[in-house]
Amino acid sequence: MAAYLLKSKNLINHLKPRIGLFGSIVSDCSLSSCLTHYQKSKFDPNLRNPDEISRIKSTLFVPRRFESVRAEKQLSSHDVDDDEKENSQVLEFPIGKVTFSPEMKFEAESSEQCVPCYRILDDNGQPIAHSNFIELSEDVAVKMYINMLTLQIMDTTFYEAQRQGRISFYVTSTGEEAITVASAAALRIDDVIFPQYREPGVLLWRGFTLQQFTNQLFGNKDDYGKGRQMPVHIGTNKLNYFTVASTIATQIPHAVGAAYSLRMDKKNACAVTYFGDGGTSEGDFHAALNFAAVTESPVIFICRNNGWAISTPVSDQFRSDGVVVKGRAYGVRSIRVDGNDALAIYNAVSAARKMAIEEHKPVLLEALTYRVGHHTTSDDSTKYRPADEIEFWRTKRDPITRFRKWVQQNRWWSDEAESELRNNIRKQIVQAIQNAERLEKPSVTELFTDVYDALPLNLREQESSLRETVRRHPQDYPPDVPV
């Protein structure tokens, strides 16, 4: 405390000659506020309550320090209304009008309670009393359910295919089906999507077929991606879904840039980007949110907070109350939603879309969920988390079962429809895999195209020399690659 007083004495000595700079001593607000209080109340330290003295330690200045305070009075008096002068001193800083307080109060690093989480259906798929939400039509609800179940079966089948060695790699969305499908349902086809990699649900909703998914996994000649990317790194501009990149969180500022473009075009559409809890640690996340707020771009940031970034639990990822509180730090409106409640996601995303487009405001949506599957097929999550925890979330908190209960209760679905759909999808996927395996790989031309807009001379030369080499030594090259 003595050290603090010494420091403040120096500050006050400096204040005398530097009248003009008084307003800019932001870092020591408590000091200036104490001076203000001291000056206004004109108190005699000796008369003060000893408890108060210990609380406001920094006000124990010797009276001769009063002179320097006049500077502050000169500066601020013309900024403050006469009424306000009596109650609180306000000074205008570059950030705006700031009210002073004699209390040295640190903003707590977290509030005592977590930000509440919006949900509509309880764990049994029953609407919670007094919840107000947009009613879904039967068509939309059934389509959502079918897509969620398709995604789940697709994931199981492709995961098995990878284990059998038929594809090299796969990423499941198990446990997070509601987030991607329900959010896609709330958007329009003109809204551009910037995914991370765990969002095939959005593609399914928009009409990407099982055969197309499979072709991409096998990298055959019908793959839209021309065999350029790892499995699940899909993109198709026909469905306004930008190609997945393995780099984490780079898609977040991309989305803001695209949103800026949408705003300049005055389009009735927004940009939507998805990322996980781990992605929020990347610098790109922070730059993007900041930028979106400053440029007033119509973008929705959807964070799938599933508790795990490979083996890093959220407690090692950040110490804030999740991701929702970070919105405030950047001036971005935010909401926390139960990610396993399809109805809640649908409603929240609908509302966010309206805000983004009509008010030109970015919105942050944190969907709380759990990553039931492994990070990818290259991961075995039982190595870092208990198997019964995984089992609990797979069964008791399954978003699909929960939504199914609600849909069946509305008599829009039945057990017969369920088993029929399950068989159907499984058959389709197996057939798709057989088709995809039989197809040829892309031709060697595709090794060289798209590096630039137009094929440059050096690549044309390399291509013809490669063709020549393959023709001369066919035994050194795989047979299913057309030259």
């Binding site: 990149a245 473009s261 730059a287």
Partner: protein
């Protein structure tokens, strides 16, 4: 200082114009009454004209708007085009490079300015992984018509973190185009070309060149003027030795050629213009004519632009070489601050003269004297 430099340049260019290649020959008729333009004004006029011609083009970077540009290259643009098209960004290179790439993904044509390419390292992931590779990785579905521009290489007394040359780093990446202008008409013609180009481009300017003035013809001043990307220019024709250079080093090479001509060595100076794609045809044709090569660059020697040029000559014109190629590059140290040390860390005209003489088998000591 710029006044002195300008006088030197115009005096020199009248002389050298006698010897330059076909394009510049047409300048001869204008040389005596030629209009002059600084590189800064050349860039500014290119930005202005392209922004006027295409409403999708916009400029983004730190201090580009209200401050008129950290080096005043974007002077007057905010006033003319408004804050929607000239954006003063928060201090986050990674942020605004990413946002620029996203805007390009969705159809705009951003020009992202880095205050110096040294700061581009904070955004290099977006330049390489998001911009350069996206057209390929998306199988042609995502094109990225973005330009990253700004000063590159050494200035004067700004030390290691403000002086590195990035031509070699960006030049090694497929998917990017990398250009480095020298004269005012290079700056104008190439910047206009890259803004119109559908591929992502890294445009390496030079802080010390901004104030240098060069003569420009009325053809250059026309708003449709545009140079071809990927074509090197023979600044001075010669017969005895080929000297390649880009950006500021072109000026040094031309001065060295002048000194050498007094000693009977007729050097050919090539202004590379384009680091990627490298105009291997022009360089090889020149070496096949002169049989000797000296490469000059400001950047670090290992894996530099000169290394790639030497490799190209060895692969395509090995039998034409009469002497080993000489490489002149910056010293293999982070740039020091003290003026005398900085001078020793950068190629000087004397270094080029000595190297050229070595290539011509005239014995010369290797090291520079202080």
């Amino acid at each position: 200082m710029s006044g002195i430099v300008r006088n030197k340049i115009s005096a020199f260019s009248v002389q050298s114009l006698q010897r330059v290649g076909p394009y510049a020959l047409s300048l001869r008729g204008y040389s005596s009454g030629a209009k002059e333009m600084t590189v800064r004004d050349a860039l500014n006029s290119a930005l202005d004209e392209e922004m006027s011609a295409d409403p999708k083009v916009f400029l983004m970077g730190e201090e580009v708007g209200e401050y008129q540009g950290a080096y005043k290259v974007s002077k007057g643009l905010l006033e003319k085009y408004g804050p929607d098209r000239v954006i003063d960004t928060p201090v986050t290179e990674a942020g605004f490079a990413g946002i620029g790439v996203g805007a390009a993904f969705y159809g705009l044509k951003p020009i992202v300015e880095f205050m110096t390419f040294n700061f581009s390292m904070q955004a290099i992931d977006h330049i390489i992984n998001s911009a350069a590779k996206s057209n390929y990785m998306s199988a042609g579905q995502i094109s990225v018509p973005i330009v990253f521009r700004g000063p590159n290489g050494a200035a004067a007394g700004v030390a290691a973190q403000h002086s590195q040359c990035y031509a070699a780093w960006y030049g090694s990446c497929p998917g990017l185009k990398v250009l480095a202008p020298y004269l005012a008409d290079d700056a104008r013609g190439l910047l206009k070309a890259v803004i119109r180009d559908p591929d992502p481009v890294v445009f390496l300017e030079n802080e010390l060149l901004y104030s240098e003035s060069f003569p420009v013809s009325s053809e250059v001043l026309d708003s449709s003027f545009c140079l071809r990307i990927g074509k090197a220019k023979i600044e001075k024709e010669g017969t005895d030795v080929t000297i390649t250079a880009y950006s500021k080093m072109v000026g040094h090479a031309l001065k060295a050629a002048e000194t050498l001509s007094k000693e009977g060595i007729n050097a050919e100076v090539i202004n590379l213009h384009s680091i990627r794609p490298l105009d291997r045809q022009t360089i090889n044709a020149s070496v096949r004519k002169t049989n000797r090569l000296v490469t000059v660059e400001e950047g670090f020697p290992q894996h530099g632009v000169g290394a790639e040029i030497c490799a190209s000559i060895v692969e395509q014109s090995f039998n034409y070489l009469d002497a080993p190629a000489e490489r002149i590059a910056g010293a293999d140290v982070p740039m020091p601050y003290a003026a005398n040390l900085e001078r020793m860390a950068l190629p000087q005209v004397e270094d080029i003269v000595r190297a050229t003489k070595r290539a011509c088998y005239r014995s010369e000591p290797r090291a520079a004297t202080a």
